[in-house]
Amino acid sequence: MNSIAAEQLKTLKVSIYRYDPDIGKKPYMQSMDIDIPKDKDIMVLDALQLAKEIDPTISFRRSCREGVCGSDGMNINGKNGLGCITPLSEAVRGNKLELRPLPGLPVVKDLIVDMTQFVDQYKKIQPYLITDKKTDGKEIPQTVEDRDKLDGLYECIMCGCCSTACPSFWWNPDKFLGPAALLQAYRFISDSRDVATEERLDQLEDAFSVFRCHGIMNCVSVCPKGLNPNKAINEIKKMLIKRAI
């Protein structure tokens, strides 16, 4: 941001979750006042950068600053979202901004969580195309309609906002695959070029992988890309049930 004259600034109260395993102190909320522009709506990530200018020890992840890399999923005033595309006008209530790490995953430091479990669940669904289609050095043909089926699925940025808002994932992060991984499972099942649907369904058949989803819909309400993991999960459930009868 540009440097701005003092009269064009106002104060925002920010409260940030702090934890450093090396210091041996329990996690605590650090409050600070930051100066933000009066008539420009900045993003939560911008506010966080301003806070870091005051206290450089505050740690968080960020990369693209435009909502496509999935680095800065965090809990913003109680709701999971991406710092970089959540404007203060949307997030701030009563002139307060409270920032916490994504819930349910181990905290590494401050707003940074350990994503290992999340990524492991993703890897379990075999997140790659399995195909035996002949190509003779060209593309595997796909109709426009078949390609349209991937819209709303392939755009996932692996930010983790959904899975860490899902109570079923909190209780069984090792067994329940969680909305993000299941969305990707369905992305490959839906791909007309993929031939491993049966194999994929076999893997999802147990009581936990899919069926722990109770349709609580938190995943849908937080997804910053407007995706609908619940719908994908329901489609998988339908396919599994159909197969069983």
Partner: protein, 600 residues
């Protein structure tokens, strides 16, 4: 060895991890190289300071340009080559351009076979759209449609597909590890890198017989850029500190359509789909500057035209400091289908829906054509005192960090993604081959390793001084003011002076936070040192290149000067001097394209 503010890192106690090959970078180029090596069964690691899918490649929008002959069955890679040579303003190396354009189609089809969800044509083929600087039949056949697209999320689709393929291949990732400096032995061979695991703060010597720098761009040297916050030119900084050459650093692309005020990009694909630029009078001004290609002229040409409109008082908005990109005439349906990401970005960052209102845009720093010079196999080249090339044993570079020079003075849209996958792959192939034949790299000494620890030890032991974020802001300001779209001798001289002062201040850089675990302040301090190297190289090369070519445009030398400057510029950190290097005019299959006046 943990970095916690107590004591220096020293070779005698630094743990070593040994690999056959290491790849620094998990973007498109790094993942392509990684895939190649993992499939060959070598013991490799991909090192990335962010989780791979957070790399900047994920932001690429419009597509990957390649003559796959989907939109036009007669399309020919030679036409693509012609466009690329012309686009480069004739300082792209023609052996590399030929290799890229010819190898491209097989690689793009392979990406599709891996699962990349390209948009489709009615016949079920990969969808291709028009991009700037594209022509049929060597410029004689009108506008071509050659950019293969997955809606306007091609980079996301490509990066995730490559990450997925690497999972399948069992690639070993060192994710959220930061590479600090190269380790060279007494024969100036590269033996690996110093790096630390960001989460634990533990530093290591990652030893390898082949090291690939695939560290991406450095757009953060400018105040306003389309680049991610992590694009800090780390690989280029490492190469410069290791005493190696960098090439064509003055050549920075300014993308015509960065969102005014935010810097985020809207793809050239918008104009490819039929959008166009207007000034405050609603005039489609590109018709005046480029009567044939209009809004799809090369990026350097469009960016300069926009700046002229603004300078001459025909800019839009209360401060007349931007132009408008008009898309509403394309209709909400097309925008939804072909440009959904752009619609999202405009709503978020410009608060407008492009289906109703034009997007405020301004030329914004976007891409580094220059970088670490390599040959077509990704092998890094440096220049000897007699001006001849020398291959640096053990070191490779690929992607935006490299300068194999397919882009020369100006990159064509969609050619970067192609560059990543073609040359990421070729580096991997060469490493694989060299391994089979046996690589002779001798051991580094303790002194060699300690030499490479100097930089990080200095930062870790800093006792007082300025915070890196303050110095960074000042640096970005200077670059923005003095090394933008139009350059003048006086501005550049002042800019170089200011960068000098900033370098002095950076000697007193202070890292207040000495903690070990996930210390992002340490990462940012080290990144600043890399930005500074890139910025200084840019500044000095810009002032030395006394002509206007491609993206480099100066008011005191407004013409291209083929007699003196049909050359690459080469820069070293120690001497801060610029020398010249021949451009390659020896393609293997076609006849070389000779320079001609570049009009669109």
């Amino acid at each position: 060895m943990a970095m916690n503010g107590k004591g220096y890192l020293d070779a005698s106690s630094l743990p070593v991890k040994e690999f056959d090959g290491i790849i620094v970078g998990g973007g498109g180029s790094g993942l392509m190289a990684g895939l190649q090596l993992a499939q060959s069964g070598m013991n490799t690691a991909v090192v990335s300071k962010v989780f791979p899918t957070r790399s900047h490649t994920v932001s690429a929008q419009g597509g990957i340009t390649c003559a796959i002959a989907s939109a036009d069955p007669n399309d020919d890679w030679r036409w693509h080559m012609y466009d690329t040579v012309k686009g480069s303003d004739f300082i792209g190396d023609q052996d590399s351009i030929e290799y890229m354009c010819q190898e491209g189609p097989a690689t793009v089809f392979e990406l599709e076979n891996m699962g990349l969800p390209f948009s489709r044509t009615e016949e079920g083929k990969i969808y291709q759209r028009a991009f700037g600087g594209q022509s049929k039949d060597y410029g004689k056949g009108g506008q071509a449609e050659r950019t293969c697209a997955a809606a306007d999320r091609t980079g996301h689709a490509l990066l995730h597909t490559l990450y997925q393929a690497n999972i399948k291949a069992g690639t070993n990732f060192l994710s959220e590890w930061f590479a600090v400096d190269l380790v060279l032995n007494d024969s100036n061979q590269v033996t690996g890198v110093i790096a630390f695991e960001i989460e634990s703060g533990e530093a290591y010597f990652l030893k390898a017989k082949a090291t690939v720098l695939a560290t991406g761009g450095a757009g953060r040297i400018y105040k306003s850029t389309t680049n991610a916050l992590i694009n800090t030119g780390d690989g280029t900084g490492m190469a410069l500190r290791a005493g190696l050459a960098v090439q064509d650093m003055e050549m920075w692309q300014f993308h015509p359509t960065g969102i005014h005020g935010a810097g985020t990009l809207v793809t050239e694909g918008c104009r490819g789909e039929g959008g166009y630029l207007i000034n405050k009078d609603g005039e489609r001004f590109m018709e005046r500057y480029a009567p044939n290609a209009k809004d799809l002229a090369s990026r350097d040409v469009v960016a300069r035209s926009m700046m002229l409109e603004i300078i001459e008082g025909r800019g839009c908005g209360p401060d007349k400091d931007h132009c408008y990109l008009k898309l509403d005439h394309l209709g909400a349906d097309l925008l939804h289908k072909r440009l959904p990401g752009i619609t999202e970005l405009s709503k978020t960052f410009a608060h407008i829906d492009p289906a109703d209102h034009p997007i405020p845009v301004v030329p914004t720093c976007h891409y580094a054509m220059g970088g670490i010079p390599t040959n077509v196999h990704g092998q890094v080249i440096t220049q000897q005192s007699d001006g001849s090339d020398k291959i640096v044993d053990g070191l490779y570079a690929a992607g935006e960090a490299a300068c194999v020079s397919v882009h020369g003075g100006n990159r064509l849209g969609g050619n970067s993604l192609l560059d990543l996958v073609v040359f990421g792959r070729s580096a991997g192939l060469h490493i694989e081959d060299s391994f089979k034949q046996g690589i002779g790299i001798s051991e580094p000494t303790r002194e060699n390793i300690n030499e490479s620890l100097k930089n990080i030890n200095r930062v870790n032991s800093s006792k007082e001084g300025e915070n890196s974020s303050v110095i960074k802001k000042d640096l970005q300001e200077v670059m923005q003011l003095s090394f933008g779209v139009f350059r003048s001798a006086k501005n550049m001289e002042e800019g170089i002076q200011e960068i000098n002062d900033i370098r002095e201040r950076s000697e007193g850089l202070y890292l207040a936070d000495k903690s070990s675990k996930f210390n992002t302040a340490r990462v940012e301090a080290l990144e600043l040192l890399n930005l500074l190297e890139v910025a200084e190289a840019t500044a000095i090369c810009a002032s030395e290149r006394k002509e206007s070519r491609g993206a480099h445009s100066r008011d005191d030398y407004p013409e291209r000067d083929d007699e003196n400057w049909l050359k690459h510029s080469i820069y070293f950190k120690e001497t801060k001097e610029v020398s010249k290097r021949d451009v390659n005019f020896r393609p293997k299959i076609v006849q070389a394209f000779q320079p001609f006046a570049r009009t669109y």
